[in-house]
């Protein structure tokens, strides 16, 4: 645009001589016009980065603004994600929660990736990010969720979806965000305090966010895994030792984030200390008091970003540490069993009785080193070409296995790190991803992004993965999109390197799960803030990794075809309100490889509907309602329990903002009708599904400076 204008100005002055008729000399007006064109570029960039003009871009994305979510009473990242079309939540016995995108492999982690200000934070152990799901909403400026593998080839592959959390560290000229202080109090004795603070001087910008939160949440669990025979084998029946009660799912978190920018250099760092209750027990025995799981996550990333003429260089290097650290009583008093250490060594069955129960300490710390360099070139008319690589080196740097004495049954811990490790301490993986992408704007109404990733790893390679996307703008109000992309999920550490565990058997020969995704979207814009988006998707998943109680080794055995549609409407009923509604349907079948058997999707809700309504009473008050419906879920074949029941919840929030003193008070009541919300438990674990929060409340107080 800028180029065209200056070109025109030159030619015009050649052809037509300026006359003295005008109030402003033409040359001066040209300067003003040039400054308009600069503004246009600036706001286009802001709008693109903040996804304001997402409807016109060749990718499918859902964007939620933090401040809007605050008004809805949404407390944290997890609750925000539950609003995304097609996203459901799952959990496991250590309360590792993970969003399920469009019904994709609901019992595996790593299907989706979480980025905080562009930094990938999935832990290496589970390839999950449950420790970040508690991130308070007040720390979040914006959540952008791409469902499916997406249309961009930018080095990191998401499989079923990627979540980008943008904190208030982001800023643009004219859009500086203020510092703030937040306190929250809620049910389960939830307490939270935090702040964000920006410091600016010339070329230097420092941003800090900090929060602390804790609660003492316990949720009803029902009879534990012992009742299902999780510790009954070799002729021993320990089902009578099963306990029944509440699962400790409490939480204690603090996090300190730092973003520092100096000229073209940047530093991003975060310390997250996350401690939680041992939930349903790592060995499926309902934990007694005192146990805990720690999932600390630390990262530091240095960046250099520079624009020189038509080139933009983006270089990053970082290190990340994440740890799985569990300490708990793993089995009740009086467990009778055989010496598993002995048995796994030479098949000898020596009986052992743990009079005072079984205790355990498990720790595995992983380090990720990464470096990436990308070059963007805008020199060709209508094309933006991006190419570069990302190199990642992941390895386990520390591992500890301590258990009660298997030979004697004595409860005191014995160091089994070397002789009976729970995890391979030599686990490591090197990954190199090369990518090339061209963003091609054919004309005003038709644009493309196409490119590929090529990934090589020290394990099984994913290889070449192409992506093509297209956006066609019939006019301002009717936009069509089509996307094809291929992606993969590399097996997680847990799936590859778990050792000496009879319910999870690691497999180092696993291949990546692969997906081919076909998506179509139609966006109808009624006005600048009202639209209806319809998506159709068809996903061909290959080599999905699975394990079960009957075949505990992780194997690439499932091929799943998924298809469905999503509607998303945002608008208003009257001038003073805001209305959002989405509905998604997913269907499909799983084919078990090497067996001519196909099964309907298990543990997947076919219908999801979410919506909210915010009513702006006046400049100060707003009232909102937030509703979610999740349909029932079929069990896996062979699981004779009843289907997981459908549920719907309704939340409501009242928010008051005082502009004069810049403070906000928010009061929200969640799950008003006290609905029973459950996430499925796999067969042979807990007989009841994992029950979630009933009716609860939250109060938030925020002061801005």
């Amino acid at each position: 645009m800028n180029q065209t204008l200056s070109y025109m100005a030159v030619v015009l002055s050649l052809v037509i001589n300026a006359t003295g008729l005008y109030a402003q000399p033409i040359a001066k007006m040209d300067d003003i016009l040039a400054s308009i064109s600069t503004d246009i570029q600036h706001y286009t960039e802001v709008a693109t980065v903040t996804k304001q003009n997402e409807a016109y871009q060749p990718y499918i994305i859902s964007v939620f603004q933090g401040q809007e979510l605050e008004k809805l009473g949404v407390a944290n990242l997890k609750e925000a994600l539950l609003l995304v079309p097609g996203v459901d939540m799952a959990t496991d016995n250590v309360n590792t929660k993970t969003p399920i995108f469009r019904g994709s492999n609901s019992l595996a982690f790593g299907q989706s990736k979480l980025f905080i200000d562009g930094t990938l934070v999935n832990n290496v152990f589970f390839d999950a990010y449950s420790e970040y799901l508690g991130l308070p909403i007040e720390m979040i400026k914006r959540v952008e969720v791409v469902r499916g593998p997406g249309s961009k080839t930018d080095g990191v592959n998401a499989y079923a979806g990627s979540i980008h959390v943008i904190t208030y560290a982001e800023d643009f000229d004219g859009f500086e965000s203020s510092d703030k202080l937040v306190f929250k109090y809620g049910s389960y004795d939830y307490k939270m305090g935090g702040f964000v603070k920006t410091y600016k001087a010339d070329d230097l910008k420092v941003f800090i966010d900090f929060y602390y939160q804790e609660d003492n949440k316990k949720l009803p669990a029902g009879p534990d895994g012992y009742s299902q025979g999780s510790m009954s084998a070799f002729g021993f029946d320990n089902t009578n030792l099963s306990r029944n009660g509440d699962a400790p799912v409490w939480l204690q978190d603090y996090s300190l984030g730092l973003n520092l920018n100096y000229k073209d250099f940047s530093v991003k760092a975060r310390i997250l200390e996350h401690t939680q209750g041992n939930a349903y027990g790592i060995n499926l025995a309902l934990p007694e008091n005192g146990g805990r799981v720690k999932l600390p996550s630390y990262y530091l990333e240095l960046g250099y970003n520079k624009e020189i003429n038509n080139y933009t260089v983006d270089i990053k290097a970082g290190v990340k540490y994440d740890t799985f650290d569990s300490k708990d009583k793993l089995g009740p008093d009086g467990v009778n069993f055989i010496d598993m250490v002995q048995f796994d060594t030479d098949y000898t069955e020596n009986n052992v009785t743990f009079t005072d129960g079984i205790y355990g300490e498990h720790l595995a710390q992983q380090r990720t080193l990464y470096q990436s360099s990308y070059l963007k070139y805008k020199g060709f008319n209508k094309h933006i070409i991006t190419t570069g690589y990302r190199y990642v080196k992941e390895e386990t740097v520390d591992m500890v296995s301590k258990l009660s004495n298997w030979a004697t049954g004595d409860a005191a811990l014995v160091d089994y790190t070397d002789i009976y490790p729970f995890f391979d301490k030599n686990a490591k993986r090197d990954t190199l991803i090369f990518s090339l992408q061209d963003e091609y704007q054919l004309n005003d109404s038709l644009g493309f992004i196409y490119g590929f990733n090529y990934e090589q790893t020290s394990d099984k390679d994913a290889g070449f993965e192409p992506r093509v996307s297209m956006v066609y703008q019939l006019d301002t109000n009717n936009i069509f999109k089509a996307i094809y992309s291929r992606s993969h999920r590399n097996p997680s550490w847990q799936e590859m390197y778990t050792m000496n565990n009879h319910s999870r058997v690691g497999n180092t020969t696993l291949e990546p799960e692969k997906v081919d995704a076909f998506e179509l979207a139609y966006v109808k814009k009624y006005s600048s803030d009202t639209y209806l988006q319809t998506n159709l998707f068809y996903l061909l998943n290959k080599n999905q990794i699975h394990h079960s109680a009957t075949d505990p080794q992780y194997k690439n055995i499932l091929d799943t075809d998924l298809y469905g549609l999503e509607f998303e409407y945002k608008g208003h009923i009257s001038d003073e309100d805001q209305f959002y509604l989405n509905y998604s349907y997913v269907g499909g079948r799983s084919q078990i490889q090497d067996a001519a058997v196909s099964e309907p999707l298990s543990n997947v809700s076919h219908h999801l509907a979410k919506g909210y309504y915010i009513y702006r009473i006046n400049d100060s008050f707003s009232l909102s309602a937030l509703a979610k419906y999740v349909s029932s879920k079929e069990r896996a074949s062979g699981d004779t329990r009843n289907t997981v029941e459908a549920y719907s919840t309704l939340d409501s929030a009242l928010s008051y903002m005082n502009k004069r003193y810049d403070f906000t008070v928010m009061l929200s009541l969640k799950n008003i009708f006290d609905a029973k919300v459950t996430y499925p438990s796999p067969p042979k674990t807990y007989s009841q599904d994992y029950e979630q929060e009933r009716r609860n409340f939250l109060i938030a107080l925020k002061k801005e400076f």
């Binding site: 109030a23 706001y43 003009n53 009473i617």
Partner: protein, 181 residues
């Protein structure tokens, strides 16, 4: 609970405010004043040698109007290029032929836009609108954030006798007329 909701809803009907997109507001606040300067007949519209940029708002959007004024003041610091300017905030109900204005920026309202259009036409000043829809009601300029940032101008409302824009400006705007709505 139901009672509370009902009560609040009843109260709320008395007062309400519109939704505005912050990025769009700021983009318009940055760009529209510059467009005023590209009118070759601007000198006819000056009031006491100043550009009076009048923001017309609904009562409940007063805060929004204040925010816009603050933002323009921070960006322009008293001068649109070489001209001094004054930002005057006028409620819809107070708008009349007597209202001083070199250019008018119209926020959302539930009131009749025809009235505004009529005043604007008589005064022969440029009228900018937050909402694109108002161009059909007689206003001249609006701006939208599409794939790129797009300036819209309704050809039917351009009085070439009173307003004469720089040609190159007209070449970057998107026209709306009776043919293409």
């Amino acid at each position: 609970m139901k009672k509370i909701i009902f009560l609040i809803l009843t109260l709320a009907n008395l007062l309400y405010a519109h939704n505005y997109n912050e990025v769009l507001l700021k983009a318009q606040a940055s760009i529209f004043p510059k467009i005023v300067l590209l009118d070759k007949k601007l000198s006819n519209k000056l009031i006491d040698g100043k550009i009076v940029y009048t923001i017309v708002y609904d009562k409940n959007d007063y805060q929004t109007a204040l925010d816009i004024r603050k933002f323009i003041d921070e960006s322009y610091d008293g001068h649109f290029d070489e001209y001094e300017y004054k930002i005057s905030l006028v409620e819809f109900s107070d708008l009349s032929n007597e209202t001083q204005a070199s250019a008018i920026y119209v926020l959302n309202t539930s009131m009749n836009m025809q009235k505004v259009a009529k005043i604007v036409k008589e005064k022969g000043v440029v009228a900018f609108s937050y909402d694109l829809e108002n161009l059909k009601q007689g206003l001249l300029f609006s701006l939208l954030l599409e794939k790129s940032t797009v300036l819209y101008l309704n050809k039917e409302n351009l009085d070439t006798q009173k307003v004469d824009f720089l040609d190159s400006l007209l070449q970057i705007v998107k026209f709306i007329d009776n043919d293409n709505g």
